[in-house]
Amino acid sequence: MKRLPSGVYNETYAQDMAVLRTKAHWGFAITGFLAAASLPLWLSPSLLQVVIKIAIYILAGIGLNILVGQAGQISMAHAGFMAVGAYTSAIVNNAGLPFILGIFCGGFFAGGVGIVVGFPSLRIKGYYLILATMAAQFIVIYIIENWTGLTGGMFGISAGRPVLFGLDFGSDPVMYEIVLLFLLAGTAFAQNLTRTRTGRAFIALRDNDLAAEVMGINIARYKLIAFFIGCFYAGVAGALIAHWMGAITTHLFGMSLSIWLLAYILIGGLGSNVGPFLGVPLLVLISELLTLMTSSLSMSFPWLLTTIVPLHDLIYGVAIMFFLIFEPRGLAHRWSIFKVSYRLWPFSY
């Protein structure tokens, strides 16, 4: 149970249910959001791109966390769903509709594809489900690559600039604010979902599906809902990537991204809504640092290139193993330990 700072009591039901309880909470949240929103003012353009990438991946990570961490349906096709969202949004936008509509179309269509992929999950689970979703990943990418008339095939597709009410939102700082708004909405939804009947049903499903069934939870329905919500997030994140980059190919959404997303939420903390906020920045910063190192060193030491490029996978692999053995609950667990101790500091209880 959450431990409250001394002097804070729950006197009404509304107080007990509030996500942000105290004035300090609200202060932190608002300052934090404003600080995040002001990042384009003082970050260099290249650093801002990294931050946008992190924000979009966090959004995708939240969706995957709902699907894998809370509902327990392991999906190795998350990058595939992102691709579905990205291409849908690009196509809708190229047809002349506003990009906001495109993003939501991307989300809903990815969610629909997610339900189709989720259908096997009604009969199978565990390793069989993992392999089914992996097959889905390959098949989705294959269909996108070969439906040349609609998607441009191997050459990719260009997504229109984000234009709303006749204004061009295409520059990186504005795109960042849009991504941030989506991230805020996504986080608020995920945090509240955990506390609803649906969220609790997911957790029951994950912990013991037979017991959940006995408790009166319609397993088939909630599995599909979990797939829809998780893939909706993926679709929106993919659509944001499409409009941010302007042009996309399927290489952006390969199997490796699916695996990395799983690594992000694992290292962040599985099933915790804080998890993606801790895991994604850590790992994305590591890979960006390696990319930077590669590009700067390849000029003077070309032979180092073959050593540094695989180093990325090596670090990810070792990080996954390290966290699984020493901190299976991820960074979120450390964070909650820290939170409890600073709340009561300097007294132990």
Partner: protein, 293 residues
């Protein structure tokens, strides 16, 4: 029609290798209940190590094979002790991510050591083609298939008649019951991992002989998954059949559909995998776990 048989024959030969890699997956799954996603990368690593022994150290090829088989067993035991042992009692997601971590590590190490250029073994098989009923089969493929079949029969007999094979099946069936009968479970799972990596190494050497040594070998190992799922995760005969089915399907779709659907060869096994999962969720020969949902 000759074209058809040609495709079937070469597909079946490649399928033999898939079946061999799939056998490694089934071995671990039967004994420890873990699906080893790193199998393909172990296969690639062992192909590279064999290359090192035979070309870079200049050992005779057969000696190099023996050495690398020994190394592969060592690697298997090491993976089991270091990585999978702490995962006992953890949820399924943890074991999956652990094998993914192992896969990432084993995929990157060969690139760091041996680079990305293609390499090949010294020729140790007679380079000629055999005419089997009007169908030409190159000796590489034929020998690969024969080696796979031999290893298959060895493991089949091992599981059926030897003491430790039977013990392994008992562990797979019910860990607690096996333990109460005096079975040392940790030793059994170490043996299973050693055998599985040995089989992967054999598959890697066969595959690298047919093609060449390179980082493309690791994704080929992925093809073993559709194979074992089609056959059922816990059936050795199923792995053989699944592997051949996947190989033949790949050959046929590559031969007939490649003009109209580019790249169908790579995805065809996964289409079949999804269809089979929808019709028979536990594969053709897999053990059905009866659940009422």
């Amino acid at each position: 029609m000759e074209f058809f048989f040609q495709l079937v024959a070469s597909g079946a030969a490649i399928g033999g290798v898939y079946a061999l890699v799939g056998l490694g997956l089934v071995l671990i799954y039967k004994a420890t209940g873990v699906l080893n996603i790193a199998q393909g990368s172990v296969l690639m690593l062992m192909a590279f190590i064999t290359y090192s022994f035979s070309v870079q150290l200049g050992l005779p090829f057969y000696l190099a094979v023996v050495f690398s088989l020994l190394v592969s067993m060592l690697i298997g035991v090491l993976i089991e002790r270091v990585c999978l042992r702490p995962m006992i009692g953890q949820p399924l997601f943890s074991t999956i991510m652990m094998t993914i971590g192992v896969m990432l590590v084993f995929q990157s190490i060969p690139v760091m050591i041996w680079g990305t250029s293609l390499k090949s073994y010294p020729e140790y098989l007679p380079q000629k083609s055999y005419n089997v009923g009007g169908v030409l089969i190159s000796s590489d493929y034929l020998w690969g298939f024969i080696i796979s079949l031999c290893l298959f029969s060895v493991f089949f007999l091992y599981f059926r008649y030897s003491r430790s094979g039977i013990v392994m099946r008992a562990v797979a069936d019910d860990q607690q019951a096996a333990q109460s009968m005096g079975v040392n479970i940790s030793r059994i799972s170490a043996i299973a991992w050693a055998f599985s990596c040995l089989v992967a190494a054999a598959g890697g050497i066969v595959l690298a002989t047919v093609t060449s040594v390179g980082i493309f070998l690791s994704p080929i190992g992925l093809k073993a998954w559709p194979a074992v799922i089609i056959g059922g995760l816990d059936s050795i005969a199923g792995a053989l059949l699944g592997g051949v089915i996947v190989g033949v399907l790949e050959g046929l779709s590559g031969g007939y559909l490649e003009q109209s659907f580019m790249g169908i060869k790579e995805v065809a096994p996964y289409f079949i995998l999804l269809i089979i999962l929808l019709i028979k969720p536990y594969g053709l020969f897999g053990l059905k776990r009866i659940e009422r949902i």
